[in-house]
């Protein structure tokens, strides 16, 4: 039974076709040039994809979370770097939608949905990544303005974004404000030579006495980390989980074709046990990851309290599976897999990176480990008492 409704199935076919035509033929080139072209961003804007999850009243498509997921799967199959655009752009849209005032929604959402304004998410600093509470970027109140000083690093699409959600502290309390790219005092330096997400327009953002209107603050002081950042990151994790699923599917498709054609020792590769095991494991993990991803977004559609955990489980499992199987994909393809003109070498680099972003997999282990212990520890205790 398919978990997708008829409408979702139709959209999924549309997304796959879109990616095959507009993304896949160019993905290696973008990767080599370390640059997603403006042209593909415009094509995606025209298709309405930059407003996928934005409600129709703000000019978007009103996709549910599962539809957003399968969109990321289709894009991730072809280009992980491009999936990074939808990842961060959607995080900002959803943050404004949930925590912004009506005025803020009207000001940014219709333009973001059309792709006329691109968003980026700036939390990480050179000295603070996993431990986000350690950020030192500072907002200072000056009349009805805020003065922003600090440095953000590794900001996806930061090099070309029009607005950036910048996290910092105001009198010690975490806050998040929208900063426009032409703000005086903001210096944007592209980051090159990444292992993965090479075409993802990463940047270092330096803020020197930037004047930011208080009206650009999203939500209230004190809530920026526990509510705003985490709310946004949940959408980021959906994007990463599903695009890793797409990458896994890509490995499976490319390798399956190769092992049926290529012969060694008078046998097709698929006839060799070691190769067949790698394909079996790849297929099994793809199926398992798909269920976890679907399950997580269905839980999120239903506003289920365990949606946060389910999204984390999906991100954790799928990125780990993608890293493991893209490594096997390189192995199965032999020298072809080691060459930059084949997608699997790019998959191998991108998938490793996906274990680090949107909360590293160790941070997922920390949180999920405790959560499972609590959940299943209770059961054990009840049993003990009944003995």
């Amino acid at each position: 039974m398919s978990h997708l409704s008829k409408q979702q199935q139709e959209l999924y076919s549309e997304f796959l076709k879109f990616a095959k035509t507009n993304v896949e033929p160019y993905a290696n080139q973008w990767d080599r040039e370390e640059c997603i072209s403006r042209k593909i961003i415009d094509i995606c804007s025209e298709a309405g994809y930059l407003g996928g999850t934005v409600p129709a009243e703000y000019g978007g498509q009103g996709w549910d979370n599962l539809t957003y997921g399968i969109f990321n799967e289709a894009i991730g199959r072809s280009s992980i770097s491009l999936s990074g655009l939808f990842n961060v752009h959607t995080m900002i849209e959803q943050t404004i939608l949930k925590w912004g005032t009506e005025e803020q929604k009207q000001r940014w959402l219709p333009f973001m949905a059309k792709g006329e304004i691109l968003g980026a998410f700036a939390l990480t600093e050179p000295e603070a990544g996993s431990d986000a509470a350690g950020i030192t970027t500072e907002y200072r109140l000056d009349g009805d303005k805020l003065i922003l000083n600090g440095k953000k690093k590794w900001i996806t699409f930061g090099a070309i974004a029009d607005i950036i959600l910048v996290f910092g502290k105001l009198e010690g309390k975490p806050v998040a404000c929208i900063v426009e790219k032409n703000t005086p005092g903001l210096t944007v330096t592209p980051v090159k030579d990444m292992l993965g997400f090479r075409a993802g327009h990463l940047a270092v953002l330096q803020f020197d006495n930037c004047v930011v209107s208080k009206e650009n603050m999203i939500g209230k002081e004190g809530f920026a980390l526990n509510y705003i950042a985490l709310y946004a990151l949940e959408f980021g994790r959906i994007s990463v989980a599903f695009s890793a699923l797409g990458l896994l599917r890509g490995c499976l498709e490319i390798c399956s074709e190769h092992v049926q054609k290529r012969k060694t020792f008078d046998k097709r590769l698929i006839e060799h046990g070691a190769i067949r095991k790698m394909i079996a494991d790849m297929g099994v993990d793809y199926e398992a990851a798909k269920l976890l991803c679907y399950n997580a977004t269905i839980a999120k559609n239903n506003h289920s309290p365990d949606a946060t955990e389910k999204v984390m489980i999906a991100k954790y499992f799928t990125t780990m599976a993608a890293a493991r199987h893209s490594s096997n994909a390189v192995q199965i393809m032999g020298a072809f897999g080691c060459n930059e003109s084949f997608a699997v070498s790019r998959y191998y680099r991108d998938s490793k990176t996906m274990e680090i972003i949107e909360g590293s997999n160790e941070i997922h282990q920390m949180l999920l480990g405790k959560s499972f212990a609590r959940q299943f520890g209770k059961v054990t205790k009840i049993k003990d008492e009944s003995n």
Partner: protein, 80 residues
């Protein structure tokens, strides 16, 4: 079940890990007790919205709304 008991059940199931922490009283500050990690903050938000069919709005962002059992109950009642 009453609102307070329902919320207490949820907090116990999701927040409390060792037996001696189960003595949570109505006015204990769950944030100050150090129980809350980032996962719980998001779960509480999802839980309140889905269980009581309310929407937590930007103006509800006040740490005191979520700090104690009594305050969470008052917040939910106010929203209903």
């Amino acid at each position: 079940m009453k609102i307070k008991e329902t919320i207490l059940e949820f907090i116990k199931a999701n927040l409390i890990i060792s037996q001696n922490e189960e003595m949570l009283s109505d006015n204990d500050n769950i944030f100050e007790l150090g129980f809350v990690n980032s996962l719980f903050a998001m779960k509480l938000l999802n839980y309140l919205e889905s269980e009581f069919k309310i929407v937590v709005e930007p103006e509800d962002m006040d740490i005191s709304n979520f700090s104690t059992l009594t305050n969470i109950e008052a917040f939910v009642k106010n929203k209903l």
